[in-house]
Amino acid sequence: MKLKPEDLDKISEKMKATTMLREGAGRVKITVHMGTCGIASGARKILSAFIRHIEKADVKDIIITTSGCAGLCSREPMATVELKGEPPVKYVDLTEEKVAQIFNEHVMGENIVTDYALAVGSERIS
């Protein structure tokens, strides 16, 4: 394929998910907590569900990552959704159905799903 100048931007757009991942900068960052407690209560399924939704929606500005135990083991599986420039929101007692709703309303629609949210913000690190 011989490129025209405008094709360069198309290739950049196609690669956007990769670029954003490596720069650690997206519109939304989803963190699934995968401590032993999280894994035991099904965090793996939650992670896969988020990834499926991202692929289906074909959006490239979302970073999905994992972290260790968030400290509230009794309410696992947990995930944190962070829109750029806004405080992170922690969701608890997740199921695949709840993930669908959080993805549509919060990640895509930018409205917090208050029914499942534990809290807004993070604990302070001294």
Binding site: L3, S12, L21, L47, I51, I63
Partner: protein
């Protein structure tokens, strides 16, 4: 394409490859498959990360976690703990010397903190063998801008305004060089990328080609447009197999996209490029010798004038720039001359890549803004001297450069300041020496190198360096004469004056600077027959201190020439006739009973 949640950037620069980076990559693939994570985690092979001392290296995105000194054994645990369970593994992270806790994030590590990346902007962040990854990071957009919105004159004006100077060593203004070549009569013009890096301990150009080959191609394309050339050559050492492979892949991919060839990006601009492999003669890095080599002739320098810009390859106007210079060009065109000129000092703009090697803690590849001090490079980025020893000198500019002492560590790194100190910027080799380094021996080493690499065309370079080498050898063997310093100084001036090309003109620099800053070491060798750093074998003796020797026999057993004798629990003695001064007894004694003087 799956939506990956994690990218593993595996450094596959030459340094990490020789430490087993490809085995690490295979182990990662195995383990990731075992946990069914291949659709979630992408493994990317990148060019040199820069922190070569601590390879093999893997950087994990999106968080930028830096893992180092990995072995295959570490991989199963790493994959399960971090990539599956999300718990970064502290024991595989970097812990700075004299610190207790590791630094998880790459951008917090001192080695990376003070660096500013332009030529190496894509290092470690793209796969150099995938053109789309280069394009995704604004690749070929400078070319598109140059072809569609700028005239050749405007391109040259922009490069001139940026203040870019040649990164190969001499620091000639790049825009002016292009303008001279453009203004020559005739339609047939050539451009060359000089990738014949030959300084001992230098690997800047290799790393740029290995980590971002398209940046050089794009720079050449823009340069060709500005100069009016339709053909280019990349002259690269055959000892750089990985760089060679990656540049060939890059050319093929660029050709597929129509970025090299005819009617580039739908315009009428045509450019073709050839890759020529050099056989590794140091003199081929000199531009006129390189052109002779390209033409299939012996690599002897040509008389100037005429300069290559007037009569170069096949007698046609030819513009030759170094790898790093070409790599800067796309960024200047894309982001503007003003942006580029805002970095650096009054006369030296932008950044410079150095290969920081020798007795520093963090050896590797660094890119820093011009004007940074040598002290910042060596102590903040390089992490200071190994083993807590004292700094003695830093050698910049390779065999053509000079040694700069501690008292001058605060000079800013730019073309003028380094020249004033008696050294040169050169292509960017930076060899750090500690108190155990003998400066006479350093001068001897570099003269031995240039003497060996002299092409033999000019008498002074061929024979003058040989005489200098003989004198230096004599001094290090304790046979130096009082007049030797004067003889060296006289020869140095004559070799400089009597040589056609940069090789001979700069070969005496290591001798001149060591004589200037470390004359006392020469005098100690000549007058007292002593080597103050205890390096020159003819001038040192190993002895055993009777009070400290416990007769353990370790030195006796380790001595390769059986020069040490003594009964168990009795005092041991070194037979000086048999001793070859290898220092094994000194290193192996646990009771500090061996001395060297």
């Amino acid at each position: 394409m799956p939506h990956y949640r994690m990218n593993l950037m595996v450094c596959t620069g030459t340094g990490c490859v020789s430490n087993g980076a490809f085995r690490i990559k295979e182990a990662l693939e195995r383990e990731i498959q075992k946990h069914n994570l291949e659709d979630e985690i992408q493994i990317v092979t990148t060019g040199c990360n820069g922190f070569c001392a601590n390879g093999p290296i893997v950087v994990v995105h999106p968080d930028g976690i830096f893992y180092q000194m990995l072995t295959e054994k570490d991989i199963p645990f790493l994959v399960e703990e971090h990539f599956l369970k999300g718990r970064p593994v502290a024991k595989l992270m970097y812990t700075p010397p004299e610190k207790k806790s590791p630094v998880p994030h790459m951008h917090d590590i001192g080695f990376f903190k003070k660096q500013r990346l332009i030529a190496l902007a894509n290092r470690g962040i793209i796969d150099p063998e995938v053109i789309d990854e280069y394009i995704a990071r604004d690749g070929y957009k400078g070319l598109a801008k140059a072809l569609t919105t700028m005239t050749p004159e405007l391109i040259i004006e922009e490069i001139k305004k940026s203040g870019l100077r040649g990164r190969g060593g001499a620091g000639f203004p790049t825009g002016l060089k292009w303008e001279i070549c453009r203004s020559q009569l005739g339609d047939e013009k050539y451009i060359i990328c000089n990738s014949d890096e030959g300084d001992p301990g230098a690997f800047m150009d290799r790393s740029i080609v290995e980590s971002d080959p398209h940046s050089i191609l794009e720079g050449m394309l823009i340069g060709a447009r500005a100069i009016g050339a339709s053909h280019g050559f990349i002259y690269i050492r055959n000892e750089y197999p990985l760089a060679l492979k990656r540049v060939l892949i890059a050319i093929e991919q660029a050709q597929d996209y129509g970025l090299i060839g005819d009617d580039i990006l739908g315009t009428d601009f045509c450019f073709h490029v050839n890759v020529n492999r050099g056989a590794g003669a140091f003199v081929c890095g000199e531009e006129t010798s390189l052109i002779n080599s390209l033409e299939g002739k012996l690599p002897h320098p040509r008389v100037r004038p005429p300069f290559p810009a007037q009569s170069g390859y096949k007698g046609k106007p030819t513009n030759i720039n170094n790898v790093e210079t070409w790599a800067n060009v796309p960024k200047i065109i894309n982001y503007g001359a003003n942006w580029y000129a805002s970095i650096g000092t009054e006369t030296s703009k932008g950044t410079k890549v150095f290969s920081l090697v020798g007795k520093v803690n963090n050896t590797g590849l660094v890119e820093v803004p011009m004007g940074i001090t040598l002290r910042e490079i060596i102590f903040d980025i390089g992490g200071g001297i190994q083993g807590g020893k004292k700094f003695k000198a830093v050698q910049t500019g390779g065999p053509s450069g000079g040694c700069i002492p501690e008292s001058m560590l605060d000079i800013p790194v730019d073309f003028e300041s380094l020249t004033k100190a008696g050294s040169i910027m050169g292509s960017g080799g930076m060899i750090v020496m500690d108190e155990d380094t003998c400066m006479v021996e350093v001068a001897r080493y570099f003269i031995a190198f240039t003497q060996d690499e002299s092409c033999g065309k000019c008498t002074f370079c061929r024979i003058g360096t040989k005489r200098m080498l003989e004198i230096l050898e004599r001094i290090t063997q304790g046979k130096g004469e009082e007049e030797d310093i004067e003889r060296l100084q006289k020869l140095a001036v004559n070799v400089k004056m009597g040589s056609l090309c940069g090789l001979g003109q700069t070969a005496p620099n290591p001798v001149i600077t060591t004589l200037k800053y470390f004359r006392d070491e020469y005098e100690a060798h000549i007058k007292d027959k002593k080597c103050p750093s205890k390096r020159c074998k003819s001038l040192i003796r190993y002895n055993i201190i009777p009070d400290n020797c416990v007769g353990c026999g370790v030195c006796r057993r380790n001595c390769p020439t059986k020069a040490i004798s003594g009964e168990k629990k009795e005092l041991h003695i070194i037979n000086q006739e048999k001793c070859i001064k290898c220092g094994i007894c000194y290193d192996s004694c646990r009771f500090s009973a061996v001395t060297v003087e």
